[in-house]
Structures are given as structure tokens and as C-alpha cells.
Subunit: 220 residues, 2 copies
DNA sequence: CGCTGTCCGTCGGCTGGCCGACAGTTCGCT
DNA sequence: AGCGAACTGTCGGCCAGCCGACGGACAGCG
């Protein structure tokens, strides 16, 4: 139910408890890894619920991409938003046409609250991302990203140290933060030299000074 | 029904035809000019519909502000979003608690489509703003802002020239675009020297080469 | 094992645009 | 008319962070 997220949280909404009957009318579809499932131009407006797998939601400019978030099992999204949607792993998706979904909502108001919550969350997260881009420099964004990860995924060890699994490469992180591979790389190594964190292989992070990171993310 | 907008459109949704009964349960409130009506911290979650006046929706950083949009008569918004909301002119607002509104939605599904449309628009606009901030440089953003204004508010004159009323100062525009007064000022004057546009007083713009502006907004 | 492709670290150069400062302009008010 | 406040234009200094480039480190694979 949780997922890899933008600095703060994520530009998607998850329904922790899928209301009974929510899936009625949805059609399952398998999607191969690497498929570009939706693009901004698409006429096809759909509501989708992720059954299995991971999808990346992103925006694309001339020569850059900005990942908004990764969707995982249980997440809801709608293609009625000018974003790209790419399957990072093979996925099972539950799909429904937006129009049909609207009809469903009208006839069965019990689904409405869940949907509103999801949309509200989407919106709040989008606003938070705007805030990040507009007001915070890259170190602050990266620090917030890491503290967020730690809070959500980290496991505390002895001495205030946290173990944080990391399934994203430098490039992926950069894309989430709206910066470049190089900048992320040097910051991370700088912080490692400063003793704020350390790494073991490419998929594990140890956070030694979470408070320092919090401070870095708060200022600026 | 239209309003002063962000580069593309605006981070709000307007209900062109307020469905009959939508206003049931809303309470009117007068708000004096300059009032800070809502802040990110507020516990008070409300849905509001603007009856009269103008409100500015914005985010605030340490030393900067980013305006997301201006709300005008007919616009719907919800404070359930971490933004500031300030009355730029005296306003009449229709208010309703979010919880109560949710109940209303549940009992009267006919309002749902309107609400979904509004939320969807809000979201799409937020995404567009993110795109602008992440991918486009200031000249492109400003160009898009102006072409947008022209399309929505401009009146065509002879010879492909457009007259565009402008009720925003340099500073206000800068805040909408996430840049500074100085940068906007120099760009505008540069473009005036280039013959792309001209100005008459502080509230009127003449666009001479809309196509050039479009090109400036598209590239980068 | 080697080989090849992908990922990561680091450096220097370059620049968009922020910031502070200040002078000139316009507007509203009395 | 005349003053003060608010808005606008312009300049130079400065720096965060992008970009290109390149070498080293890990894989997976035959």
C-alpha cells in the first residue's frame, strides 16, 4: 500500500480499505514491463487501480523527465491528467472508463467519499511538489526525500541509526526531485563524508544523523 | 466566470452552470479586503464558492510567494489544500464545512459530477504548473502567460494586433510565474523593443506578434 | 572468468536568473 | 497643484546547479 514517493509524499492516492463493490465494473488488464500505458495526448480517459506491479507517473519536457511518483498495488490513478504512465514492472491493472465511473458514482454514492479522498490527496501532493520546486533548493529536496523514505521505510537500528532500503538509482531519484544525476550523486557523497549517512552496496542506506537531514530539509 | 490565470489556465475550477441546489446548505460570509482567509495550518476544512470579489491563492516560502491563481465570482475552491487564501478585494463567499459537504454529496449524488469536474480541473492545472516550473525557463513561462491572457481576454484589432487588458502589476505577474519583478520587467521591455508588443499605461497591452510569443512559449 | 553494458563519482566551465541598489515614473490624495 | 507612496526600469555582482566529459566500479552473461 505504500510506495516510492516524491519528497513529501506522492502524487497519487491509495485507498487503504478498498470499499466493497469499488471494483465492480472494472476490467482487468495485463501490461508488459516497459509499456507506455498513457500519454498526455490520450483521448481515452480512464480510472485505474493497480492490482500488481509498479508504474511510473511522469512529465516529460524536451530533454528531461520529471517523475511525479511511482504507483504500486492498491493505488488509484486517473489518466485524466496530462501525464505519462509507464509500467516499470509487469502490471495487472483494473480499468474503467471515466464516464462509466462517473455514472457509477452517481448511482452508488457510497464510493464517493473514497474517491474524493483520493482526489484531495492527489491535489495536496501536487501542491506540495510545486512548493518544493518553487521554494527549496536541491539539497533541501533531497534531504526531505530521504527523511520521508526513512520515516516510511526505514528500520531503526542501535544508536539512532536507521537502515533504509533503496530500490531507486541515482538517476531515478534525480528525476523525482527535478534535478540531475550528478547533483544527487555529489550531495550523497558529500553527506557520506560528513558522516550523515553511509551506504552498503547500491540498495541500502544507513542514516546516521536523521535530525541533521531534517534540518537540511526544513531550512532554505 | 473567467479569471486571471496562471500561465496555462488556473489552479481552480469554475462551475459555469451552478447546478440548482448546489448552494443549499452554504452560508454566506462577507470578507474585508486584505483578509488572510485561510492558511495551510488551518484545521477548518471548508468548501467555498465565490459570490463576489477576488481572492488570491498562493503558497509562501521563507522570503517568496508563489501565486497559484486568482479566484473570482463563480469559482469553487476548498481550503483542504495547503495554500494561503487572501481577499484581494472585498468578497462575498458561500461557505460549507467539508464534512457537511461530503454528506451532502452522499445524499444528493447529482452534485457529484460538478464536483469531480472541478477537482479534476484543479489537478490538471496543478500538473501544468509543475510542468512549467520544471521544464520551462522564465521567458517561456511569461510568453505562455501572455498568450493565454490574449486568448482569453484579448480583443482583436486591425492588422493582427490584439488589445489585452491587464489588471496585474509586474510584481503580481512575477509571483504567478515563480520569478521576480525585475526579470519580468526586463523581458517585457525587451519584447517591447523587439516590437512584439507595446504598452499603453499600466493596464493595457497590445500584442503585435502573437505567433512569435507562441513560439517563445513552445520552445525550451 | 573476461567482456560488455549500465551505473556511479567527480571535475570545470558556463549561465539563467536572483538579489540589492537606485533612479525615474505614475498614481492617488488632500 | 504638490507630496508621498507605490510601482517600474536597469545595472552589476554573484552563485546554484546544469551540462559534457571521462574514468572507475559493478554487475550479468556467454
Amino acid at each position: 500500500m505504500d510506495s516510492v514517493d516524491t519528497p513529501s509524499q506522492s502524487l497519487h492516492g491509495a485507498v487503504s480499505d478498498i470499499p466493497p463493490g469499488l471494483l465492480d465494473g472494472f476490467v482487468a488488464q495485463e501490461v508488459a514491463r516497459g509499456t507506455l500505458f498513457a500519454t498526455p495526448g490520450d483521448a481515452r480517459d480512464q480510472v485505474l487501480i493497480v492490482g500488481q506491479g509498479r508504474l511510473r507517473v511522469y512529465l516529460a519536457g524536451e530533454s528531461r523527465e520529471l517523475s511525479l511518483s511511482y504507483l504500486e498495488a492498491g493505488d488509484i490513478y486517473t489518466t485524466h491528467t496530462p501525464t505519462y504512465l509507464e509500467a516499470v514492472t509487469p502490471c495487472t491493472l483494473w480499468l474503467m472508463d471515466t464516464r462509466a465511473f462517473a455514472r457509477k458514482l452517481a448511482s452508488d454514492p457510497s464510493v464517493t467519499p473514497a474517491m474524493m479522498r483520493v482526489l484531495g490527496r492527489l491535489l495536496a501532493n501536487a501542491v506540495t511538489l510545486i512548493e518544493d520546486l518553487a521554494f527549496r533548493d536541491v539539497p533541501a529536496r533531497l534531504a526531505r526525500f530521504i527523511t520521508g523514505l526513512t520515516e516510511r521505510r526505514g528500520r531503526p537500528l542501535d544508536g539512532g541509526i536507521w537502515l533504509v532500503p533503496l530500490e531507486l538509482g541515482t538517476e531515478d531519484i534525480a528525476s523525482l526531485l527535478g534535478t540531475t544525476r550528478q547533483t544527487v550523486s555529489s550531495l550523497l557523497n558529500q553527506w557520506e563524508r560528513d558522516g550523515i549517512l553511509s551506504r552498503q552496496g547500491r540498495r541500502v542506506l544507513f542514516i546516521h544523523a536523521l535530525d541533521t537531514l531534517r534540518r537540511l530539509g526544513a531550512e532554505a
